[in-house]
């Protein structure tokens, strides 16, 4: 158990060792090599880079150089990422075999390895991380420690003001003060619905019960979203500290974090953070010498999207099927094990320590009038800079997609951006200047959601993308209430017909009617929002639906059943390459004269299109 003084000593000592990471004017002779150890970069073998670096340091007995496995830097498209501080050199897509060169040249001789430097979209070499456009419009509040500290070392977290907010709360604020501060900040739930966080805290605080709980929703089920995972991987103590603060505010003594089992690195780091916090007495009894007692436990999910819904999550934590309960009673009054429970998601909690330390006013100065603070987005799909982005609320989609995200690859046109995952909608080009906040996104038929942002280019069919999401909801519907269980299935059947060229007059109207009823009568958020992908694509891309039905044509050419693959007789030189590669022998012809495709045999796989050296084959 550590006292406040001992924690302060750790802070000072560690800060003197790691301040060079933030100090660009540092003149000493130490170097820190920060290597991303998030899931993305680990998948492209950053762990091998780290092992190799440590081996070289040991072999050559190099002093004053440390290798740190950090959390996510955000620019996943350029992984594995290596940053050398204090000079802030940014090496992108380095591999194990590049490590020796980095050491020979950069570490030992101060010479930059030009060929490994990161390049921006225009192909210009970027020496330092902050020179990249990707970072210029970002503001890091939630992700402030990601990529900066070793997430498995509590001392480094403490060095950058870690556990200072908890100390402040326990020694100088009453639970009411804390609730009021969070209320005043204007923070709203980052899980998607945007409910005011402070109000939730107040309800749970006022609820009567001999035992209360705080819980964290880290069951990030939205496919293509990885914001919460990145916080858990890069800065797990931020969650531990925030949950302790929340527990103090609402009067809870025990907390649960519900994490997806599919996130092994996140689970491991969070468990380590909890163990370290216990060891330091920051969890347990008598924290900082006060009466306050709090402990935290991880509960694993097992791949059920509906468990992101708050009551289903609680069922799952208790060890049951994750089926939602009717509300009311709300979790604030009757949550986990029937006791009053406060539930927030990871990103919401990750704002708390900053609000306590810098004050509600500071937090309120970021963002828009009704949506305060920043929002983290996982940007993916047809975009150059796939990665993790944190921007002030009110930033426009255009800024995120084109300034930060670097635009659409391959010179293609932007078609739509999808936010809110299976509960959200597709936003067309005409709304690119919409500021990102809860109200504006709802007004254009999408939603903030948890932060998944998928960009689609003009080769994507909007009917097909609606079907993709409906497939997902049909799969993930828990089956408890009929509107969701049966209704989404019926909608999916219609979409299936449409994409197979068997659409009928009246299908659009039927989709709309089903959507209206499912939204109105489903038990939980999953069903109530499931029709959104269909409704939003109908709103902005109705002509595509109509083309599928009336003309049996897919305008973007993605729905294979409705396309034909043909050879342009003028361009074909009769080389026979297509015929040789056709898996079903659908192409025939005589050498040096134009070939043709038998439409009855053709399976539209597209191999011939890719193989034709004269670009004579196309899909229509």
């Amino acid at each position: 158990m550590k006292t406040i003084n001992e924690i302060n000593e750790i802070r000072e000592k560690t800060l003197s060792e790691i301040s060079l990471r933030k100090d660009i004017n540092y003149k000493g002779n130490e170097k820190h090599i920060l290597v991303c150890g998030g899931t993305g970069c680990t998948s492209s073998h950053s762990d091998k880079i780290i092992s190799k670096m440590n081996a070289i340091i040991e072999e050559k007995n190099i002093e004053n150089v440390r290798v740190i496995r950090t959390g996510c830097f955000g620019l996943c498209a350029k992984g594995p990422i290596i940053i050398i501080r204090p000079e802030d050199t940014f090496y992108a897509m380095a591999q194990e075999e590049d490590v020796e060169e980095i050491f020979e040249k950069h570490i030992l001789n101060g010479e930059i390895v030009e060929r490994l430097l990161c390049k921006d979209i225009d192909g210009n070499t970027v020496k330092r991380l902050d020179e990249l456009n990707f970072y210029k419009k970002q503001k890091r509040v939630v992700l402030k420690n990601c990529g900066m500290i070793d997430p498995e070392n509590i001392d480094e977290y403490i060095a950058f003001d870690g556990y200072k907010a908890l100390e402040k709360v326990l020694t100088s604020m009453t639970p009411d003060d804390v609730v009021n501060e969070v209320k005043a900040s204007g923070l709203r739930g980052r899980g998607g619905a945007g409910f005011p966080t402070g109000l939730k805290w107040e309800f749970t605080k006022k609820a009567v019960g001999d035992q209360k709980y705080v819980a964290c929703n880290a069951d990030e089920g939205d496919p293509g979203a990885f914001m919460d995972r990145s916080v858990l991987e890069g800065d797990p103590h931020a969650l531990v500290e925030a949950m302790a603060i929340a527990a103090y505010a609402v009067g809870a003594t025990k907390g649960y974090v519900y994490v997806r089992a599919e996130y092994p690195i996140a689970v491991r780091r969070l468990q380590r953070a909890i163990d370290q916090a216990r060891e330091y007495g920051l969890l347990g009894k008598g924290i900082f010498g006060t009466e306050f007692e709090f402990d935290l436990e991880i509960r694993l999910g097992a791949g059920a999207f509906v468990c992101g819904e708050e009551t289903a999550l609680m069922e799952s934590v208790e060890g049951h099927r994750g089926e939602p309960r009717p509300r009311p009673p709300f979790p604030a009054n009757k949550g986990l094990f029937g006791k009053p429970t406060l539930l927030n998601n990871v990103e919401t909690y990750a704002n708390i320590t900053q609000i306590i330390l810098n004050g509600a006013e500071w937090f309120g100065s970021i963002g828009t009038e009704k949506s305060k603070g920043t929002k983290v987005f996982a940007v993916g799909g047809n975009i150059n800079n796939v990665g993790l982005v944190e921007v002030p609320m009110g930033t426009t989609l255009r800024e995120i997609i084109f300034d930060i995200g670097g635009g659409i690859p391959g010179g293609r046109e932007f078609k739509a951006a999808q936010t809110g995952g299976p509960s959200g909608g597709c936003i067309p080009a005409e709304h690119l200047d919409t500021p990102i906040d809860y109200e504006s996104l709802s007004a254009i038929g999408s939603m903030m959601g948890s932060g998944g942002l998928i960009v689609m280019d003009d080769t994507k069919c909007m009917v097909n993308i609606a079907k993709f999401f409906l497939d997902f909801t049909v799969d993930e519907s828990c089956g408890k209430c009929p509107p969701c269980r049966i209704g989404t299935k019926r909608m999916n059947e219609i979409l299936d017909r449409l994409t197979n060229g068997q659409g009928k007059e009246g299908d659009i109207e039927k989709l709309e009617e089903l959507a209206k009823n499912i939204k109105r009568s489903s038990l939980c958020g999953l069903g109530q929002t499931a029709p959104n992908p269909v409704l939003s694509t109908l709103k902005y891309f109705r002509d595509e639906y109509e083309a599928h039905i009336k003309e049996k044509r897919c305008p973007s050419g993605e729905c294979k059943a409705m396309t034909t693959v043909t050879i342009d007789k003028d361009k074909c030189k009769g080389c026979s390459l297509c015929a040789k590669n056709c898996p079903v022998n659908a192409i025939s012809g005589e050498l040096k004269s134009p070939f043709s495709i038998d439409p009855d045999k053709c399976i539209k796989c597209g191999v011939c299109i890719a193989k034709c050296p004269f670009k004579a084959i196309s899909r229509k």
Binding site: S44, G79, D222, G224, L300, F305, G380, G381, V386, I465
Partner: protein, 168 residues
């Protein structure tokens, strides 16, 4: 469910004493026989056996005092739990939105074609099993698939044959 009541069928000379079962009993004990830890215990069972066999369900039921039917209900609710063993190499293709937009359906189709099995299937020799999974979070590498723990990213269908050959 042919393996009802069956003991371990290995021929390693252990005499039917399955260390995995002992491990499971120990895990349940470590949880203080807390019924609310069922998800954790099932996740561990899945890790130990590679699936959740009937004999493991029986152990859990007896040790925790939860009816078999209820345990079965929980197992079948969550997609990570499997009642059937997986192949020596389990291939999981990500069908998260980011991967889907970048063509992961084509990867999945190619695998189905080469392996001759459908999603959820296993090759007759027990070598490969195939599943479609939701986001594994490596969106920067989309489209992505995993073979056991190994992650393969930035795929296109023409790469699949060569990758599979490594496992032959």
């Amino acid at each position: 469910m042919s393996e009802n009541n069956e003991k371990c069928q290995c021929q390693c000379g252990c005499g039917g004493k399955d260390e995995r079962e002992e491990k499971l009993v120990q895990i349940i004990k470590d949880c203080n026989y807390d019924k609310s830890q069922l998800m954790h215990i099932l996740n561990e069972t899945q890790n130990i056996f590679g699936y959740i066999p009937m004999r493991a369900q029986k152990i859990i039921s007896e040790e925790l005092g939860i009816p078999m039917a209820e345990i079965y209900g929980v197992i079948t609710f969550y997609s990570r739990f499997s009642l059937e063993p997986k192949g020596k190499y389990n291939i999981a293709v990500c069908l998260g939105t980011a991967c889907y937009v970048k063509g992961s359906q084509g990867i999945l189709d190619k695998l189905k074609e080469i392996l001759g099995i459908d999603v959820g299937g296993i090759t007759p020799d027990g070598k490969f099993s195939l599943e479609a999974t939701r986001c594994i979070g490596a969106c920067g590498l989309a489209p992505v698939m995993t073979i056991n723990e190994e992650v393969y990213g930035k795929l296109d269908p023409s790469m699949i044959k060569d990758i599979l050959e490594k496992y032959q």
